[in-house]
Structures are given as structure tokens and as C-alpha cells.
């Protein structure tokens, strides 16, 4: 089972608009992204899709997704209370 967590990411935005994640902020810790191994568009098994940055952090390979306008991290660890609540139903189009 894979879970997704929306996270704060310190990101370098290059002149051509491409992104490079530098640090991932999780609670009080700031984890350095040591290396971006690959970048491709794909969907996440935990739900959602976007540009997937396969990153090496703390000696582990983790998938970091750029989804529309924010980042989420895929993880096999379940962290209670960090799941995003389902957005309330939209009333647009009604």
C-alpha cells in the first residue's frame, strides 16, 4: 500500500520553467534531495498524477510528484493525521 502526503518543498525554478526540488520539509525536519534520478510524467499508485521526480534522499529513492501546482511525496509509511481531507464537494456547475 502506498500513501501520498502533500509536503512543502524548497524548489529551484530555472529560467526555462523547469523545477528542481532541493529540500523537502516534513514537520520540523528539512531533508536534502541529494540527486534527481529521473523525471517523467506518470500517475501515482497512491492517487493523482503529474510530473514524477525520482529523488535520492537519505540514501533512499523516493517519488516526488509535481501535481498541477503543488508537491506530494509517495511513501509506504502510514503517518496518521497527515492525510489530506477530501475537499468539500464543489458547487460549481450547479
Amino acid at each position: 500500500m502506498v500513501y501520498k502526503y502533500y509536503v512543502d518543498v524548497i524548489t529551484m525554478i530555472f529560467q526555462d520553467g523547469t523545477l528542481r526540488p532541493l529540500f523537502v520539509q516534513w514537520e520540523d525536519h528539512r531533508y536534502k534531495v541529494d540527486k534527481v534520478i529521473s523525471v517523467r510524467e506518470m500517475f501515482s499508485k497512491a492517487g493523482g498524477c503529474g510530473i514524477c521526480y525520482l529523488c535520492r534522499m537519505q540514501g533512499q529513492d523516493r517519488k516526488l510528484f509535481w501535481e498541477r501546482n503543488r508537491w506530494f511525496l509517495e511513501s509506504e509509511v502510514f503517518a496518521p493525521g497527515h492525510q489530506e481531507a477530501r475537499t468539500p464537494p464543489s458547487t460549481r456547475g450547479m
Binding site: F43, S44, G47, R92, G93
Partner: protein, 437 residues
């Protein structure tokens, strides 16, 4: 039907086809996008639907588990819940649907400049000329299908054929990442045994009329004499005959092509039933103000107006009239709508949804002949008034300026068809007059 074409560099079917047109259809689109965003919904019967409180309570799309419980698109939420008590209802998020369907179409646009949307979830893609760059067309279609799945986790069913009509027909044959190729050689065996209503533009009424002529399958339609069809259906008959025989030559439009507007309409399902002419007039006022504003925004004026009303028993009535002169004024539209209401002869009023549509559009401020007793200044004044009203609403919100009469029953008129609402309408296939080709 070549369901599984061997993968290889050269494909013999491609050589046989003059044009390679793909029709792609995102299977139960809204439900699938919700499942992609929230995978846990895959394990429960789920449907995307409106809100029952606001009486938009119908099923818009459903997933496979809901389908297995016999939940049908278009039925009321209450009906669906009765069939399947554990049904999870998700409210539609049109923003997400528009975003992801556009992203999927962006994949098609990487391979060709001929991508024509047909609603949110369907598109025609012409890859005839892309073959020089990307290789065999049928192989390319498969690659595109795989790429959509790998990138967005969404399955599309594809039909590949030599014209748009058969491509659409083929994509409907197999759901769930279906892939069907219909060539000029085998369409007679594969498509002609199918019922005539599977053909694009053959609806419920046409099916009934065709059955009266003893035409039941697409093959029957193709074998019928075009003169006989023309006598019964007019020019539509010839068109259908062409479709059935695979003679459709219409092109897939280039990206960025926009259909010219032919009519503008607004309708509203009200929160509680309309029971008097006065209430109907207030709802119509809001609708006609929005239509007039849209006309002015597009620099258009209309010359025909039609209304439709739907009673609580879900019976629809409607009628239309031609105006003496072109107009873009809400007051004119409202007056004429009320004349039409009189003509409908409603004895007992109990209405659930009402709408106004204007057509016969002409561009801009052309100078047309007025009659001798027309007060040109008054029209000009009225237009300026409406424009000011509109400007105030744009700047300060819709509620900044309202008719006192609309406050009598504000629950009825408390909606803003212009502002934040986003209507996603299905599109028609024919864009203009039918040409004999």
C-alpha cells in the same frame, strides 16, 4: 474486427487505409478521473452525481462496481441508492475534469495537429500525415493509448478507421482500453450487423422511424435506397446512407478550430417548483439578462427566441417565435419569452425547469431598417441602462443590483447564470448545413 493487431514495424492494415482516423473515448470519464485521484474509490460502488438538495440529483457517471449493481447514467440519485444502498456519491469537480481531459488531449497534440474534441471525453485524431514522422498509424494509436495510461492512469478506448463515423462506432465496441480497427475491406462484415441506433446521429426517434421502414441494422440502412430515405428524412436521410456506406469524408478539424456560435441559451432547474406566472417571469428575467449580456459580450444580436418549460411530471413543452428586428436587450427577450408563455397555454403551472434560447444571430451593430413608429432613442437608452447594470454587477457582484420584484421570492431567483457557473454542454456533431458529397 482486428482486435489485436500484431505489433511490428509494418502493419498490413495501414497500407489498406487511405486515412487513419482515431476516435478516442475516456471510459466513464468523470468516474475514472475521480478514481485516479482517489484510488480508494475503486473498491466501492461509486458514482459522480449532483446534489439532491438542489435537485440536480442525477447520476453523471459511475464506476464498474456501480454498473454491476445496475446503476444507470442519467437516473436520479434516489433511484440509484435504492438499487445499490452502499453507493458512494461524489460531487462533480469540473475544474479537475477539464484540466485532466485537456492534458490527455495534449498527448494527442504531440503527434498531430488534427485533434478535434467531441465533448470533454471524446476526440478524433487524424494521424494520416503523422506516419512519416512517427511510423505506422495503427502502431502509433496503440502507443498513444499506452502513453495516456502510463502518464495519467486513465484508460481510453480507441477506434481506428478510415472515416470519423466508423472510428467513433469502433471505439464504442470495446470498453476498457478497447482497441478496434475497422478497414475499408472488413466494415461490411463487422459493422453492418450492428443495430442502426449505434450510428452517430441516429437517436431514439430516428430509430423508430427506421424500424417502420423495416430498417433495423446499419447494413439495412446501407442497402436502402437513398431516394427513399430522402423522402422520409430529407437531406438527413442521404447523410445517414452515406455514413452507413462508409462514404463520410468530413475532416478532423485542426487544433484551435472553434465552431461559430449558432445559438445562446440558459436554463435553470429551480430549487422549488414555479407555481405562478409572476414567479416564472422573475426566473425568466434572470435568464434573459444573462443571455443579453452574453450576446453583447460576443457582439451579437438575435432574431429568434424559443423557450422550453418542464413540468414536475417531467413533460417538456416549448415554442419559438421570430422577432421583428434584431435585438440584444434583456427587456426584449423577456417580453417575447412572456408572449411565448401565453402561447403555450399553460393551464396549471407547476414547473421544475425552464429555459430560454436565442438564435438567428447576426454580428454586431449593423444598421437595420426600423419601422416608422419605433423609438430609436428608447432602445439606445435601454441598452445603456442594461450595460450599466451589467458593469455594476461585474464590479460589485451579482447581488449589488437587483429588481425589487425578484426579492418577493428570492430563493427562486437566487442564481447567477453568468458569473461563476461553468456549464459543460455536450456538442452536436453537425456544425452547419448538410452538404451533399
Amino acid at each position: 474486427m482486428r482486435v489485436s493487431v500484431e505489433r511490428g514495424a509494418e502493419n498490413i492494415y495501414t497500407v489498406l487505409m487511405k486515412r487513419i482516423i482515431i476516435h478516442s473515448d475516456i471510459n466513464h470519464c468523470y468516474a475514472q478521473i475521480e478514481e485516479m485521484l482517489h484510488p480508494e474509490l475503486r473498491n466501492v460502488p461509486m458514482a459522480v452525481g449532483g446534489s439532491e438538495e438542489k435537485r440536480h440529483g442525477i447520476i453523471l457517471a459511475k464506476n464498474d462496481l456501480a454498473k454491476a449493481a445496475n446503476v444507470k447514467t442519467g437516473e436520479s440519485l434516489r433511484e440509484a441508492k435504492r438499487k445499490c444502498p452502499g453507493l458512494v456519491i461524489v460531487h462533480p469537480d469540473y475544474d479537475a475534469y477539464i484540466y485532466y481531459t485537456e492534458k490527455i488531449k495534449d498527448i494527442y497534440r504531440k503527434y498531430t495537429d488534427r485533434v478535434e474534441s467531441f465533448g470533454l471525453d471524446e476526440a478524433w485524431v487524424d494521424v494520416t500525415d503523422s506516419q512519416k514522422l512517427f511510423g505506422d498509424g495503427i502502431e502509433l494509436a496503440r502507443r498513444i493509448q499506452d502513453e495516456v495510461y502510463e502518464t495519467y492512469g486513465i484508460t481510453v478506448s480507441m477506434g481506428v478507421s478510415f472515416n470519423k463515423i466508423f472510428a467513433k462506432l469502433a471505439s464504442d465496441l470495446l470498453k476498457h482500453k478497447g482497441f478496434v480497427v475497422i478497414t475499408e475491406e472488413d466494415f461490411r462484415e463487422e459493422l453492418w450487423p450492428l443495430p442502426a441506433e449505434d450510428l452517430l446521429l441516429v437517436g431514439r426517434r430516428t430509430t423508430k422511424k427506421l424500424a417502420e421502414m423495416r430498417i433495423f441494422t446499419i447494413g439495412d440502412l446501407a442497402a436502402a435506397s437513398p431516394e427513399r430515405l430522402q423522402r422520409r428524412f430529407g437531406i438527413m436521410g442521404v447523410l445517414l446512407w452515406n455514413y452507413a456506406n462508409g462514404l463520410d469524408t468530413s475532416e478532423v478539424h485542426l487544433c484551435g478550430y472553434e465552431r461559430p456560435v449558432k445559438s445562446i441559451g440558459n436554463s435553470k432547474t429551480v430549487v422549488h417548483d414555479i407555481v405562478s406566472i409572476a414567479q416564472l417571469r422573475e426566473v425568466f428575467r434572470v435568464l434573459s439578462e444573462s443571455i443579453a449580456a452574453r450576446l453583447r459580450m460576443d457582439h451579437l444580436r438575435c432574431s429568434r427566441i424559443s423557450i422550453h418549460v418542464r413540468s414536475t411530471e417531467l413533460k417538456t413543452k416549448g415554442c419559438q417565435r421570430k422577432l421583428e428586428r434584431f435585438t440584444d436587450l434583456a427587456s426584449d427577450i423577456l417580453d417575447n419569452a412572456m408572449i411565448l408563455v401565453g402561447r403555450l397555454g399553460l393551464e396549471e403551472i407547476s414547473l421544475r425547469s425552464v429555459g430560454i434560447q436565442v438564435s438567428g444571430l447576426a454580428a454586431g451593430m449593423n444598421f437595420d431598417q426600423g419601422d416608422l413608429f419605433m423609438d430609436a432613442d428608447a432602445i439606445d437608452r435601454q441598452r445603456r441602462t442594461e450595460q450599466v447594470l451589467y458593469d455594476i454587477r461585474v464590479r460589485y457582484g451579482y447581488d449589488a443590483c437587483r429588481m425589487a420584484s425578484s426579492q418577493v421570492d428570492s430563493t427562486l431567483t437566487d442564481f447567477d447564470p453568468l458569473g461563476l457557473l461553468h456549464h459543460v454542454h455536450p456538442v452536436g456533431y453537425l456544425e452547419g448545413p448538410i452538404r451533399n458529397s
